[in-house]
Structures are given as C-alpha cells and as structure tokens.
Amino acid sequence: MSTVTMTFREALNRAMCEEMERDQTVFLMGEEVAQYDGAYKVSKGMLAKFGSKRVVDSPISENGFAGLGVGAAMVGLRPIIEMMTWNFGIQAFDQIINHAAKMLYMSAGQFQVPIVFRGPNGAAHMLAAQHSQTVEAFLTHVPGLKVISVATPADGYGLLKSAIRDNNPVIFLESEMMYANKGEVPADETLIPIGVGDIKRPGNHVTVIAWNKMLHRALEAANALAAEGIECEVIDPRTLQPLDEPMIFESVRKTNRCVIVDEANHFASVSAHISDRIHKECFDDLDAPVVRVSGEYVPMPYAENLEDRVTPGVDRIIAGIREVLY
C-alpha cells in the first residue's frame, strides 16, 4: 500500500475534507475553525474549499453549539464540532452527556445523533491547571458515546473518517503536542474501524498499553529497554470506548505482565478500568499485578519542571515496567 508523509494536522484535515466532499450533510463548526483556519490550523483551507455554510465560526458558547450540533444531527446532518481544546468541552458536558449520549435511547432508536466532537486533549506545554486536562475518564463513563484517542497521523486519518461516518456521537481526542508530528498515511482512501486496537510494537516480555501522546513515551521506554533485552509489546487501543479487550487479553496472556500508561490521574480513570478488566479476565495468567503509570493526582502546575514531573515521563514508564518484571 503506497503512503504519503503528512503531519497529524494534515491527516485530520484530509479526513474531514474527504468526508465533506463525499457527504453534503457533513459540516464543521467550532471557535476559529473558519476564517482563522483553526486555532491549531487543523481546518486550514477548509473555509476556502467548502464555504461559510459548511465551515462555521461559532461564538464562545460550547454548550450552545454542542447542543446545536446535536439538534442538527437529530434531523439528518452530520456535524463535526471542534472543541478548541477539551478543557472547554467541559462546558458542553450537559449537551454531550445529557443529550447527545442519551437521545437514541430515550427515543427508542428513532433519533440517531451522528456527530463528532473533536479537539486536543491533555496537557500541552505550560498551560497550567485549567488548560491541561484529559477527558477520557469522564466520557468513557457515559453509555451512548464512543471515544477515540489517536497517536499517529494514519490512525487519526482512518479513525476520524470512521467517526464521521458513525451514526453515534463520537468523542475524538487529539493533542496539540502531536499536530506537527509527521507520519506515513495511506495514499488511497482508508478507514480504520472503531474498536480495534493496534499493536504498535510486538514483544513477549510485558504488555504496555498506552494511547495518544503517551504512546510515544511508551515506545521510547520500550526502545530503551530493548537494549537490555526486554521486549515490550506496546498496544495502542486507539478506541477507548468500545475497548479492544480481546487484543489486550491475548497479549497479557502471552506476556503475563502488564503496564498501563495514562496521562490522566489514576482515580476512576480509563487505566483503572483496563487494569480491573485484566485482573478479572487474566487473573491466573498474571505473574504480577498490573502497574499503572498515571498522571499525578494534582491540578497541572505551570512551571515546566513541575509539569514534566506530573505527566508520566519515560523514566517513570521504565520504572513501571521494571516493577512488573520482578
């Protein structure tokens, strides 16, 4: 399969453009997405390509325009709603949790809500407490939502296309820190199915689960340990809800050891859930309890040296891996 090299933001842009060309009901709305080309330039050129009817600058009314998207989706459109960052998505939790997620169920299947809420998630760099949050723990806890978190341009491309075509509300988590990352993306149109994980690095000694930007730190840790002969199998679930449990369990049954890396703090997080599921389903296979390497349980501090210590670093991931390899 031939590929092209593109940045993460280009891959996401391409996914949106292809889907908007394919389907007239798809539109993009969010703060600064049109004339400004997106706060992080993910929608660059889209206003010029699709016009102001389909690429819409919204007021700073997250709950309002999230709800507008849900209403439009109920009657046949397929909105892509950009949250400038997911920190502001918290403002829209009422519409996402109480409305988008529950509409199909409350209407007994009559009103589908095919909508994508996308934007960068997690800490960027020196943005402090209100601008450095992860939301996957909140939103995977909401039945009715699908949650995707991507780590590479190719996954971003293939999964965003699937998200736009999905008939459910999909939460799509990106990262400011990865938009400039380059990667190989299929030259031809390609969709990646929602709910299927990806083994980003095969290995036999320990399963390491990580997503979004933590994946890259996990791979770095795995590479460092490979020098010592420790072979990590690094799994990127890509979709957190639904979760590719079969892939995870199969790997753990092979390696008998598992580390989960999660940018979020540990309390009631996705990693807590995965850990529980592994302990439950692979109890007799485990040679050590699952170790979680999580963000510290603190609001994010501003100073660089503190911030670096709060999110899981390569050193802490290596330490976590060593811990299960006793």
């Binding site: 539109f27 009817k53 919204s58 007021p59 009314s61 709950n63 309002g64 325009f65 999230a66 709800g67 507008l68 998207g69 849900v70 209403g71 439009a72 989706a73 109920m74 009657v75 046949g76 459109l77 909105p79 009422d94 519409q95 109480n98 409305h99 509409m103 199909l104 169920y105 409350m106 209407s107 007994a108 299947g109 009559q110 009103f111 589908q112 095919p114 039945p143 009715g144 699908k146 008939n167 459910n168």
Partner: protein, 346 residues
Amino acid sequence: MPSVKEAVKVDNKQKAKSSGGSAGGAGHSKEFLVQLYKDMILYRRFEERVHVAYTTRRKFAGFCHLHIGQEAVAAGVQHALRPTDYVIGAYRSHTQAIAKGITPNEVMAELFGKVGGCVRGKGGSMHMFSKEKRFLGGHGIVGGQVPLAAGVGFAIKYRGEQDVCVCYLGDAATNQGQFFEALNMAATWKLPVLFIIENNRYGMGTDIHRTTSIDHLWKRALAFDMAHSQVDGLNVLNIVDAVRSTCDAIRKDNHPHLMEIMTYRYRGHSVSDPGAYRTKEEVAEYQAKDPMNMHGKFLVASKLATEADLAKWDEEAKKIAEEAENFADQSPPPGEDEIWKDVYAD
C-alpha cells in the same frame, strides 16, 4: 385580531391583557374553531385521566408534569403550524406530543412504561418522541432543548427548507445559560426558530419574579436584537393568530423570534407538588377565565355550537382518554432485551 409586537415596536406598557375570551375568530372556519375546542378538551381530559392513573390507581411513578390550564398553548400553536414544522419541548409535553400527532394511546402507554408507548417505555413522561411526526422530545434538563432547537433551525436553513422549528420552554428556563447561548446563535445566524416561553408564572414553587430582574420575559430578546412578542395565552385565538403571523414572518424573513405566551397551570408543578407557594384564590381567578371554557362560551355565543355539543365533545374526549388508559393497561411491559437496545446505533 391580536397583533404580534416585533422587536423594535415593542412597548413596555403594552402588556398582554388577560381578559380571557376568544378574540374575534374572524377568518377562521367553523370547523376550525370547533376543532380547537375539541383539542383543548381532549388535552384536559387526557391529563386529568393521567392524574388519576398516577395518584389513585398508581399505574406509574416518577415525575409527572401536567399541562392542565395551559392546553390553549398546545392547541393554538399546533394549529398555526404546518405538518412539516418541527416541535421540541421540555418535560411538560404530553399534550404537545398529542398535538403533534402522537396518539393518546401511545402517550398513555409510554407513561405506564409499556411497550405500546411512543418510545416503548424507555422514555416515560418526560421523553416522548416521534420522528415521523417531527416531535423531537420531551427533554428533562431545563433549557437543554433550546440549543437543540437552534440546531434544527440550522439544519432547516442548511438544506434550504421552509420549515420552522418551534421550541417550547418554561419561564424559569429563561435563567439558563444555554438558553441565552442558543438565542444568540439563532439571532446571529438567522435561524428559523420560534422560541415560545410558556410563562405560567412559576418555575416549580418559585415565582419567576423572584429569580429574575425583569418584568417581562420577552426582554431576553433585547440582548440579541431578536424579534419578540408577548401573547395573551388565555385566548386561544390570540395564540393561533400570533403564531401563524410570526411563522409567516420567520419563513419570509428568515429570522428567529422569541414569543412569551402568558398562561397558567392549575395543578402542581408535578403531581406530587402541594402548591403552597400560591393562594387558592389566585388559582381560582385564573380558572374563572379558563381559555377552554372561554372558547366554549365563544362558540355558543357565536352560535357555532350548543351547550349540548360541548357536553358531547367532553364525553368524546373522556372516552378517548379512557381508551388510552385501557390500551396502556393492556400493553405489555418492554422485554428485558430493550435494556441493551438503542445504546448505540449501527
């Protein structure tokens, strides 16, 4: 004929007159005027039956918000709309659902949590829906339906259609942040949405004037230079005429409108509310100018109906409500498999 006050023309002193009685009737056919009455009495009898089914016969539980006293709004608004127009409401929406074409049977069965309900017992009193009839719910979060309505308006405009989306909300919902956000977007993007505040003077037990600083709720529109009006909701023909001319304007000029309809509920906020926050006299005062009764008197006075006709229609309404209860009784509860259905669409 009642006039719709538009944004710039609005006048502080020009309050809605709660005179009761049906203003005019000019331009409406006898059939139409009679149908309005039949609708109102059906809604009244239906809700009364719901009340008894809940309290005396304990057929269901949960919250149950009755529309008794406010029927003229559901009837009047609906008759001013086209079938393809969309309607979305809050949790006080049994009659709105029936007005939009969901059958009384389906509404009652839904209340009873039965599979014959319009959403197979999964939504209940607060969540009635019909995609076919373009009734978009039945929503339980105060104010939550308002951005949804803006979205429907957005879709109408996106597709270049001529429909209007009517969004009902309560007086107290005008204190919700997302109400304002939605109005701002609707006004900025000129979305074809008619926002109707059913001002029944109370949000639960709280007089609306205790939770906002304005005397008239249409003033919310001033923050957005949005067209707006106040309508005497005790006169059903007022409502019909106002909504009709407003929807004409919305279709023609492509702009949203905020309409405050002055109304009153006779029963508690929900069935379990004793209503100690208002006097019996106040309730009686409104009941004395009951819009349904007034419209009935108007029909008789105009020789469009006799007292016997009214009594007959009353009986017919009771019959429909009774049949709805029977239907609901006989409908089975949903099967356990429904629990895991409709969480995700294919």
